[in-house]
Symmetry: C2
Subunit: 309 residues, 2 copies
Amino acid sequence: MNVATVEINEVAPRDGFQIEAAFVPTQEKIRLIDALSRTGVARIEATSFTSPRAIPNLHDAEAVMNTIERLPGVGYVALVPNEKGAERALACRADELNLVLSASDSHGLANLRMTAAQSLEGFANIVSLTRGSDVFVNAAISTAFGCPFEGSVSTLRVLTLVERLLALGIQGVSLCDTTGVADPRQVAERCEAVLSRWPWLPLTLHFHDTRGMGLANALAAWQSGVTRFDAALGGLGGCPYAPGASGNICSEDLVHLFARMGVDTGVDLERLIDASKTLPGLIGHETPGQVVKAGPADRRYPQPAGVGR
Amino acid sequence: MNVATVEINEVAPRDGFQIEAAFVPTQEKIRLIDALSRTGVARIEATSFTSPRAIPNLHDAEAVMNTIERLPGVGYVALVPNEKGAERALACRADELNLVLSASDSHGLANLRMTAAQSLEGFANIVSLTRGSDVFVNAAISTAFGCPFEGSVSTLRVLTLVERLLALGIQGVSLCDTTGVADPRQVAERCEAVLSRWPWLPLTLHFHDTRGMGLANALAAWQSGVTRFDAALGGLGGCPYAPGASGNICSEDLVHLFARMGVDTGVDLERLIDASKTLPGLIGHETPGQVVKAGPADRRYPQPAGVGR
């Protein structure tokens, strides 16, 4: 199945800024999110309601969520690790809560101090907090394609977790390749396994480009019928276990890829590139994105002078 | 068609070193090629027999070709722009000549000072030079997916050129995305058009990662039945029209991708990574390759201390 329309979830303000060495000032975060709201992305993961001790860079979650401009047609998502975070996010009128658990317990314990079973226990209470509201509840399964500590994570493990999440009333699921280990064949198999069982499920794929496979994996997921992708402006993000490696797949590179293929993302590529060009000023270094350096593929150059036919 | 075995043509010594700011000493080129011979790549494009004025970095083509160790099972390829270059390459016992022409005349005139028709005229003489020998003659079609001056290049144009090349007795053809403008849908369509007409043709795909689409394009070509890929160690190479952008698709990243997918390249990834790690010492800067920074996807990390189950 090759689908003609996909949705882009912009995650740089959360997955990108959380690991930067420098704190991005609150006003700059708000300015960037407001610019992103005008690009045509479907959703913006604006912040994370975590403990400020765990992620100091996002200690301004309330200020960000309460000040950004809310444009119709754009969903403003908050990552939420626990019930406390969910309460904070709901108080700030998040459109969507993105709960997070790890497919592998060694990663869950290291990253969230919870096994998957412990995470699932907490999710029931969070879902009940949103009952009767319009808030969409998504759950992101980290290490869904492999774990940096344990190695392989089985398709059965992922299917079991999806089933439990749906039984809890969670409405959407993301499969996250947290450390960039997925390959296109595995992605196709795993996406098809999920979508053949739950064809109606809003399934999002979240890839990191740690080993250069990110866009090939996005292509494989799209070929398997996936229509929702996380991506980070400039390719921000990264992996504490692979210093120097690339981060999330790059939003503008992904949008450019789909545009070249005739797949509609609804995103204005030029506006996205313009937003990306502001990143080095915010974070103090270049980004891994390619299109921002090379320009779109339809860019033309003058033929060198002195060359006759 | 998904094929289980592919061949890697290593092009860094030619396509990579030719555009580096620094001249790589002849002995270092030879040492690198000898190391590459031991990695399991099918072919090594070792140099280009061009005018030393056009490409000063490869003025040592004879010294390189005459000194490298020739391992059985590895093809030593020389790029050849004209009859003079072919004579030099044959005198140095090249196993394969890689002729080059541009699909778009504006690019041909800028890069080779020849239209495609003029290039084809010269190829007849080159083919006659190799008659009765074991030398394989390949022709690489530059700008086969688009031109930085003219824009689009039609499938019909590419098919016409392939037909003319084969009529001249040329044995293999490469489709080159010289400036990194191809997208996976276009790649699939173009590869299928060529292979449906000439299913027996040794067809090589040559991608640049200028806009981050390189490995996604390689995946699309492989899905279309392509089994031969050019790639450059470390992702060397580049495009004069996109300063700062990535170069050729990276050999070790491509081999890693295929290995993860269960596709056999015959290449020892660890040896390839070891060879890639020597590049910054030769060229004076880091390379765009990702796997060399992050390590292969099966790399394991110790679980952080202090995290109990």
